[in-house]
């Protein structure tokens, strides 16, 4: 069914956008809305976890 494949395609696209990608350093502008603050906070948390678990090279 074309509709379902479209849906799957959308989910896959969003998954790639939201669950991947490198973490950048630098300024993060905290904006006003509650949702944004928390969401940005989440990305900072994710960045820290990335750094924590990846930084194991000895």
């Amino acid at each position: 069914m074309p509709d379902e494949t479209e849906e799957l395609s959308l989910l896959e696209t969003l998954d790639h956008l939201l669950d991947r990608g490198v973490v950048i350093a630098g300024e993060a502008t905290i904006s006003i809305g509650d949702v944004d603050l928390l969401y940005l906070g989440l990305n900072v948390v994710l960045a820290n976890i990335d750094a924590l678990t990846r930084n194991r090279k000895r």
């Binding site: 630098g26 904006s31 940005l40």
Partner: protein, 204 residues
Amino acid sequence: MKSVVVGVHLHREDIHVDAVAAGDLWYSVVEVDDDHPLADRDLVLRVAKIRAELLDRATFIAVRYGFVVGLSGAAAPPPPQWRTILEANRTNVEMTLKVASSTPAPRPNRKDFQSGASYLRALHDSAASIDDDFKHAAEKAVNPIESRWLPRDNASLEMAALIPRARIEEVRTAGEQLKRDFPRVPFLLSGPWPLEVFANADCE
């Protein structure tokens, strides 16, 4: 206005949207109002579309969604290995193959375990595995420059593959064949994607 960072690029002309200099590389950005929530579905979809358009022009490294740079004009210089990765993969893209396990093991119940180590081990052992047959066939079909099989959870896993741009159509055809060869295996082949998994120089 704030600038949501989309990707890291080698050249300014690779970017058809706004760009911010970052060392000797460039960030592609999407400008939005300061009070526009990043978790807004429409914005997320818009950025996803822009990513696809950018990828059409040139390969770039995908930046995790949610990072924003200020209006100061320039961003901090990125790690030097990104330049190396971008230069080495000028004509490559990523493809993703997600496979659902045919016999997903039940997730272990943490209450059954006394120690953290035994629980983590049990989680590890219950991770999805798939038939070697399919695994080999998938690798053969995609025929990547490089590939990595990554665990996802107890019900699925995925292969991230690096392929030359020129082979995208070929991979599509091979994917259709894989569907015919393995009609009972639930899988999803998608792409092309910017550098995501292979942008991490160190092994995950």
